[in-house]
């Protein structure tokens, strides 16, 4: 490789073109153009193998010689060159020095060229990636995920949620439960009756709210009014029962595009003490009273078209729970096609939380 480089460079030595520069200008111009190309090529060649670096020590002497030669050449050139040739020559020199600085060998051009090469390399890599991702998105529908088997069966989550599933509060100290109330209020803003009536339609209960038609059409959503939650709506009791030690907890089922509960038999919610004395919870009120998610809220068409969809809720009003002790509660979904006993996932079809109400 090294030898090749040398031999390639040989004709480009300063003496080589000095003698030719003495000829006519036109010839010069053509020639210099060639030279530029050649120099570029030369620089490119030198970039690829880094043999240079390793052989640098050895070559220092040679380089010095070259340098001297070049300087001589320049000196002579100043004396001999014709005016027009000079202009070209200077331009050539600038380009030459930029591309090939004999003193350092690591010239700006070389660093530059490395950057350019890497730029192109990575640019083409990026282009390939972009192409891949583009084709990927072409194959993916924006309305319907390609696969939903991972997200099925639906998970369950409760509100209020403050990064913990332990509800510890003291009835007589509002500070301990105030954030639950705020959280619930905030969560239920979207369920305000006025808003629901304005945005959503009142669809017939007990059956799927199927909206055929084009995928990209906007879908209508069924109303789920805050008032459905009665005592737990926060309308009558703005503290959602927390001030009386009868907390309301809202339960919702995770949204899954296209998920439909079994026909005719809506998914029900039932809560009980998970471990320990069953009588720790003496009564729970469910709102809506059916304690179920009505079929009309299904299916879900995805957030792009089903913009105003509000997840149906079931409120559990723990009206009589043993006080001053932690009560683990498990709320399960019940219904055909609902799985609530996955060992690894404690949030599929069920949710477990503890109530510790102090008085």
């Amino acid at each position: 490789m090294r030898r090749q480089l040398r031999s390639r460079r040989a004709p480009a030595s300063p003496y080589g073109y000095r003698s030719r520069l003495d000829d006519q200008d036109e010839v010069n111009q053509n020639y210099l153009a060639d030279e530029e190309e050649e120099a570029e090529e030369e620089a490119r060649v030198t970039v690829v193998p880094d043999l240079e670096e390793e052989e640098e020590e050895e070559e220092e002497e040679e380089e010095e010689e070259e340098e001297e030669e070049e300087e001589e050449a320049k000196a002579e050139e100043k004396g001999q060159g014709q005016p027009a040739g000079n202009a070209w020559w200077q331009r050539w020199q600038i380009v030459n020095e930029y591309l090939w600085d004999p003193e350092k060998r690591m010239s700006l051009a070389r660093t530059g060229l490395i950057l350019v090469i890497y730029f192109f390399f990575y640019a083409s890599l990026a282009a390939v990636v972009t192409l891949c991702m583009y084709t990927l998105f072409l194959t993916i529908s924006p309305y319907m995920p390609t696969f939903t088997e991972r997200v099925k069966p639906p998970g369950v989550m409760i509100r209020p949620f403050a990064h913990s599933l332990n509800f510890n509060f003291n009835v007589s100290e509002p500070d301990t439960w105030q954030h639950y109330v705020i959280s619930l209020n905030g969560f239920l803003q979207g369920y305000n009756d006025s808003l629901q009536e304005e945005m959503n339609v009142d669809c017939p209960p007990g059956q799927y709210f199927i909206q055929d038609g084009d995928e990209e059409e906007d879908k209508k959503a069924c109303q789920f009014k805050r008032s459905f939650l009665k005592n737990c709506s926060g309308l009558e009791d703005p503290t959602f029962g927390y001030s009386t030690g009868q907390p309301c907890i809202l339960l919702k089922m995770n949204r899954i595009v296209g998920f439909r509960p079994e026909l005719g038999d809506p998914v029900k919610v039932s809560c009980k003490v998970q471990r320990g004395d069953e009588n720790d919870i003496r009564s729970i009120n469910y709102y809506p009273e059916s304690a179920s998610f009505d079929l009309r809220y299904y299916p879900y068409y995805g957030k792009l078209t089903h913009v105003n969809y509000t997840s149906p809720l079931v409120a559990m009003h723990f009206t009589d729970v043993v006080k001053n002790q932690a009560v683990p509660v498990q709320c399960q979904l019940k219904g055909k096609g609902i799985i609530n006993d996955v060992i690894n996932d404690r949030f599929v079809g069920r949710v477990i939380f503890t109530l510790n109400i102090e008085t």
């Binding site: 193998p49 880094d50 670096e53 390793e54 052989e55 890497y118 390399f121 990575y122 890599l125 390939v128 990636v129 891949c132 991702m133 990927l136 998105f137 993916i140 309305y143 319907m144 995920p145 390609t146 696969f147 939903t148 991972r150 997200v151 998970g155 369950v156 989550m157 949620f161 990064h163 913990s164 599933l165 919702k252 995770n254 949204r255 899954i256 595009v257 879900y300 995805g302 957030k303 792009l304 089903h306 969809y309 996955v342 690894n344 996932d345 404690r346 949030f347 599929v348 949710v351």
Partner: protein, 1004 residues
């Protein structure tokens, strides 16, 4: 015969006055070279020298000796005296080189360059877990597992490497289990046989032909004793011994026998003057232990590689630590990231791969008769640029063989190949008939009985080397020599002795009509010629005139110039009238003529080169390896052998040759004209290190003759100063210091002494120089292939590291987990990277120069950059595409993944929304994350297949190198389809007819 410059060994033994005088001029310079190599142990070495100086027993008279050692040459020591001395001086045995305890050897395997990297990785993992645990007691155990796996890898690889080396050590140990040596000693006026170990100074021992001399002994009385000093001095010819003091130097004087040399013939009585480590050989052996072991080139390369990896790891780690901190991660989290990045850079599988690769090659080399003691030495041969080869036994066959004959005024060439099968010289002449008769009859050597089935050249012979050569030569040409001797009954004989310098015997002839006795004689040619008045030409007696004498001298000089040992042969038919059949010959009074004989011919012998050597030397040449011959033998012989094997090529000349050709003085020759040089130990002694360097650089073909063990060491050092990787071959104890000093010491398996084998890194099981060449080839191949392996392994490092970096910066769910990475590194990648060790060479690796120690690195910048920034990055990107595809198809488009990390990993968030508004529980997300791992893993895997294919070659196209022919992949495809279809049918029937016979038998 060959004259010897006897002064040479006095270099090391300067105690005697004469030599001090001769060396006065440069007395200070004398030990220059030695001082260089023993600088740190100067004092110790001086001590050793003084001991050598003390050896002047050879100059003492027997009376003085008796006084000195308080003994009596008739009665010997008393057993009480002996027991006392034994208790004081210890047993007469060489202290074995300090055995490294096995546990140290084992631990050494665990802390090599690579292992350190893994250990550090493991410890960092545990530290990281400690930090995590202190923050959150329920943190994942991944880091602990990773740490344990890393430690396990080191330990297992260590055990493997240890086992490999222990195995070759065992093979070595079985070489020659020596039978405990016995010595015949006179004690309490009684001759008794005791183990040689119990000998003490002052003991009177008797030795006879075939014995190993049990200690350094001063010979008291000698009967035709010859010893083989080759293991000590490298002289291949038997050295005669006598009881007279002949030389100031104890190594040259004839009245000293050295420990561990062999008495070839005759008998002698001697007094023990040195035992155990105090013997000359013991002192040389202890030199070896003073020479440090050099790091092998591959160890240096691996260290260099570790530096690169560590550099990359730490710099990326710190960079991302800073980024993480500035991204407002907690400092402790950032530290864990830092550790994670560093650990991710550790190529877990590479240590195992390199070890396995090396041992595979070692195994392959063992099959080619190169036993590798140290795994890393496998590669060292490949980078060898200078081979300092011993002559005797390595380049030559180590046995005298008839090389030339001169009769009828003509020189004939005999076949010197290993089996002698092809003797083509003209055997029709009458002179040959006579000559062959002399050769057969005037010879005392005999085959040991019971070897009829053994090829002639391999039979064991009782007798000295030249007689053996003659016996075998005649046996090959004439057939049953013993039968011929029987038919020509021997009536009288004068054996060879150094004063007569001839051997004579008188026989009855096998011709019943001829009643004359035949007197045959052989010996030093000039002595034989003196006794002759006629010469036989073409079977006819002719008067020996000036012309024929001239012809004789020319032939004699010519053969002598070839470094061969020349013998003259003559005969005489005794006239029947003077010597009737009943005549009694008396060898003491010599009642028969020993002059006016008829000269028949000359015959010359040499220890010929092995037939494979010239080819091997040529191969070394074309592989850019300089072959230097270093021998204790005579320069002329050395040069002749060097020429015949090509160490000095046919058309190159030494300064002396040029001087001779141009008839000018040696000083007038332009030294640049000469390519070759023959340097004697004498000249070497006077050289400064600079001069030696100059010699080594300026001459491409060098022969060192008459060198001492210490000088061998100096030569090796000189070569190493040229930045050369030096291989040294040797067999004798005298070679062991040089073997140890060399980058790779190669000992001879058959002829080698234990000391040499201990000091060496590699053992040639067949003692054949040509095996070195195959070793070089394997070594070079393994270097290339290791390069490929490392390139392959490094590539995926970036693909394993990038996910973590992206995870930190962009906050994506982790694309690939630790365990999965381990599965790649220690699972799927191991076999392909080992497979690369079997890759065949791309071009003729024996036609390029050896790699430069400092410039051609195993892992260079190009390799690292190409692996990391080109292929590695492509691979990472490819795997990321796979990862994004999985997430996007499941509902998480890339845009939503950005900075999702905290919520994603929060196990309390169980309704995380994806791009479609679906809500995911923590476990569902986790499951998806694992799918992502798998996708990423598969992504890397698939690309590693391509990576593996591209790594097969570095320059050639894959299609030039050749793949498994693609069409063969499809041969079995129909059967694969058949299996599939068949099974579908099976399942169909099971479903169609539940409970049927089919179901019962075919459902599993």
């Amino acid at each position: 015969m060959t004259k010897k410059t006897l002064e040479i060994y006095s270099v090391e033994l300067s105690g005697t006055k004469d030599i001090q005088q001769t060396d006065k001029g440069n007395g200070k310079e004398k030990y220059r070279g030695l001082k260089n190599c023993f600088e740190p142990r100067k004092n110790h070495y001086k001590e050793e020298l003084r001991k050598e100086v003390d050896l002047d027993d050879h100059k003492l008279s027997i009376k003085e000796l008796e006084k000195k050692y308080d003994t009596n040459i008739i009665t010997g020591l008393s057993s009480t005296q002996a027991a006392e001395l034994l208790a004081r001086n210890g047993p007469n045995a060489l202290t074995p080189p300090k055995e490294t305890p096995e546990i140290i050897k084992f631990l050494k395997q665990m802390v090599g360059g690579f292992s350190i990297l893994l250990w550090i990785g493991a410890i960092l993992c545990w530290i990281a877990y400690g930090i995590q645990y202190s923050m959150n007691t329920s943190s994942s155990l991944d880091n602990v597992y990773l740490g344990c796996v890393l430690a396990l890898v080191v330990i297992l690889t260590g055990i493997f490497a240890y086992y490999q080396e222990a195995k070759s050590t065992n093979i070595m140990a079985t070489f020659n289990k020596m039978i405990p040596q016995q010595a015949l000693v006179i004690r309490d006026s009684e001759k008794m046989t005791i183990p040689a170990e119990e000998l003490v100074v002052g003991d009177i021992v008797e030795i006879r032909g075939g014995d190993r001399i049990p200690a350094d002994i001063r010979l008291l009385s000698v009967q035709g004793c010859k010893v083989d000093n080759s293991s000590l001095t490298g002289e291949s010819e038997p050295q005669p011994r006598s009881s007279e003091f002949t030389h100031d130097s104890p190594l040259e004087t004839k009245n000293i026998g050295f420990y561990s040399t062999t008495c070839l013939e005759g008998t002698a009585t001697g007094m023990v003057i040195n035992t155990g480590d105090r013997t000359i050989i013991g002192q040389i052996a202890s030199l070896a232990s003073g020479v440090g072991n050099e790091k092998t080139p591959i160890a240096i390369e691996i260290q260099h590689f570790v530096h690169i990896v560590a550099g990359v790891a730490v710099s990326i780690g710190i960079l991302f630590f800073i980024i993480a901190v500035s991204l407002k991660y907690q400092v402790l989290d950032s530290i864990i990231f830092l550790i994670g990045i560093i650990v991710a850079n550790v190529p877990e599988g590479l240590l195992a791969t390199v070890t396995v690769t090396l041992s595979l090659t070692a195994k392959r080399m063992a099959k080619k008769n190169c036993l590798v003691k140290n795994l890393e030495a496998v590669e060292t041969l490949g980078s060898t640029s200078i081979i300092c080869s011993d002559k005797t036994g390595t380049l030559t066959q180590n046995r005298m063989t008839v090389a030339h004959l001169w009769f009828d005024n003509q020189i004939f060439i005999a076949d010197t190949s290993e089996d002698h099968s092809n003797q083509v010289f003209d055997q029709s002449s009458g002179t040959w008939a006579s000559l062959s008769k002399i050769i057969t009859l005037c010879n005392r050597a005999e085959f040991s009985p019971g070897q009829e089935s053994v090829p002639i050249m391999k039979r064991v012979v009782v007798g000295d080397a030249s007689e053996t050569a003659l016996l075998k030569f005649s046996e090959v040409i004439l057939g049953d020599v013993m039968e011929i001797r029987k038919r020509n009954h021997k009536v009288a004989e004068i054996p060879f002795n150094s004063t007569n310098k001839f051997q004579l015997s008188i026989h009855k002839t096998d011709d019943p009509n001829d009643q004359r006795f035949l007197l045959v004689m052989k010996g030093a040619p000039e002595r034989i010629l003196e006794k002759c008045s006629t010469i036989m030409v073409n079977g006819q007696k002719q008067p020996l005139d000036k012309n024929t004498a001239e012809a004789f001298h020319t032939a004699y000089m010519e053969l002598g110039g070839l470094g061969e040992r020349v013998l003259g042969f003559c005969h005489l038919y005794l006239p029947a009238d003077e010597f009737p059949e009943t005549y009694t010959f008396d060898v003491d009074t010599m009642n028969f003529p020993t002059s006016n004989l008829c000269f028949v011919g000359l015959l010359s012998m040499i220890d010929p080169p092995r037939s494979t050597v010239p080819d091997a030397v040529t191969k070394c040449r074309s592989a850019g390896i300089k072959v230097i011959m270093v021998t204790g033998d005579h320069p002329i012989t050395a040069k002749a052998i060097a020429k015949s094997v090509g160490i000095i090529s046919a058309n190159s000349e030494t300064v002396e040759d040029i001087a001779k050709r141009l008839h000018i003085a040696v000083e007038q020759v332009n030294k640049r004209d000469a390519k070759a040089a023959v340097v004697t130990g004498m000249e070497l002694k006077d050289m400064s290190p600079e001069q030696l360097d100059e010699l080594l650089t300026n001459y491409s073909e060098i022969v060192f003759a008459r060198t001492s063990p210490q000088q061998k060491l100096i030569i090796v050092e000189g070569c190493q100063r040229q930045n050369a990787v030096v291989a040294v071959t040797g067999d004798g104890v005298n070679d062991s210091p040089a073997l140890k000093k060399a980058d790779i010491g190669i000992a001879m398996g058959i002829a080698g002494s234990d000391a040499a084998k201990n000091a060496a890194d590699m053992i040639l099981l067949d003692d054949n120089f040509a095996s070195i060449v195959t070793g070089v080839e394997e070594g070079r191949l393994i270097f290339d292939n290791l390069k490929k392996t490392i390139a392959y392994t490094l590539t995926k490092n970036i693909a394993e590291l990038c996910p973590f970096l992206i995870y930190i910066i962009v906050g994506l769910p982790l694309p690939i987990g630790t365990i999965t990475i381990l599965f790649i590194d220690l699972g799927t990648d191991i076999i392909p990277s080992i497979a690369l060790a079997y890759e065949k060479a791309e071009s003729d690796i024996m036609n390029r120069k050896p790699r430069h120690k400092k410039k051609d690195r195993l892992v260079n910048q190009q390799l690292a950059i190409y692996s990391y920034l080109h292929i590695g990055l492509m691979q990472a990107v490819g795997a990321f595409v796979a990862y994004f595809t999985v997430y996007a198809q499941e509902g998480f488009k890339p845009s939503i993944l950005i900075n999702i990390r905290v919520e994603w990993e929060d196990s309390n968030v169980n309704d995380l929304e994806d791009s479609y508004g679906q809500q995911w529980t923590w476990y569902q997300r986790k499951y998806l994350e694992w799918m992502g791992y798998t996708a990423f893993f598969v992504g890397i895997m698939v690309q590693q297949i391509a990576d593996l294919i591209i790594r097969k070659t570095r320059r050639n196209s894959i299609f030039q190198q050749g793949l498994f022919r693609p069409q063969y992949w499809f041969v079995a495809v129909p059967f694969a389809i058949l299996i599939w279809v068949y099974d579908e049918v099976r399942k169909l029937f099971i479903r169609l007819y539940p409970g049927s016979w089919w179901d019962k038998n075919m459902y599993y």
